[in-house]
């Protein structure tokens, strides 16, 4: 199993109802697989998962990528700083 830390920001945090989550994931799970799992367990974010930005260890990551061990995963909408 892979122990990862999820961090949620902005709309995603509001819908998740939490800033962060520690999860045990199967060793070869992809970003896509993680989105599916969250969509199932947290129906409120199902819609958001279609356009969510995902980062792995503070770099943008994409659906096909396998989640590395002990990753810090960020999930958030398109950024709007400035």
């Amino acid at each position: 199993m892979n122990h990862v830390k999820l961090l949620f920001f902005a709309t995603i945090r509001d819908r998740m109802g939490t800033k962060s989550l520690d999860l045990e994931l199967p060793a070869d799970l992809t970003i896509h697989g993680l989105k599916d799992r969250l969509s199932e367990e947290y129906p409120k974010v199902k819609e958001s998962m279609k356009s969510v930005l995902v980062t792995v260890n503070r770099e943008y990551a994409f659906d096909e990528a396998v989640i590395p061990l002990n990753a810090e995963i960020g999930m958030f909408p398109p950024v709007s700083g400035g």
Partner: protein
């Protein structure tokens, strides 16, 4: 001079943005020009959906935002090799109309070496890849402002 010895400032802060101090910190003996961009909270927006803003509430994924600010600075130096100093600052928290929220400043020996273009590029990239968000609070309610940019692999 090696980029590593050139002043580069990144900051995500709840404090006031001090333009005088930041420009001074990126001014070298060889510097003759600084181009600076600051963004402020608009109290009244006319373009698009006309509305009033009571305040904005900013948040950031701080450690990643710092890394991405560094990336923006690296991209600027790769594109404009005359750039001497770079400062990139985002203020977060609850910010009211007319308050500066963000600053990008670039210095160089002369003004025709890309300083203006570099500052413009800097604010554009910050709004694309640096993980910061703002929630707008107005008399009619509150909503998260969402950007449009979808980062690509390697960004």
């Amino acid at each position: 001079m090696q980029p590593s010895s050139l002043p580069t400032i990144f900051s995500i802060t709840e404090d006031e943005i001090d333009l005088n101090d930041l420009v001074e910190r990126i001014t070298l003996t060889s510097t003759g020009a600084a181009a600076i961009f600051t963004g402020m909270v608009r109290g009244e927006t006319k373009r698009g959906d006309e509305h009033q803003t009571e305040y904005l509430e900013y948040e950031a994924y701080i450690p990643m935002a710092e890394e991405k600010m560094k990336q923006v600075a690296d991209e600027i130096r790769a594109r404009w090799d005359a750039i001497e100093g770079i400062a990139i600052v985002q203020r977060i928290g609850k910010l009211y109309p007319k308050t500066p929220t963000v600053l990008i400043a670039c210095t160089a020996a002369h003004r025709d070496t890309g300083v203006f273009e570099a500052a413009r590029y800097g604010i554009d990239r910050l709004k694309e890849i640096v993980p910061i968000w703002k929630k707008e609070v107005s008399p009619s309610g509150e909503f998260w402002v969402e950007g449009e940019y979808m980062p690509k692999a390697g960004e």
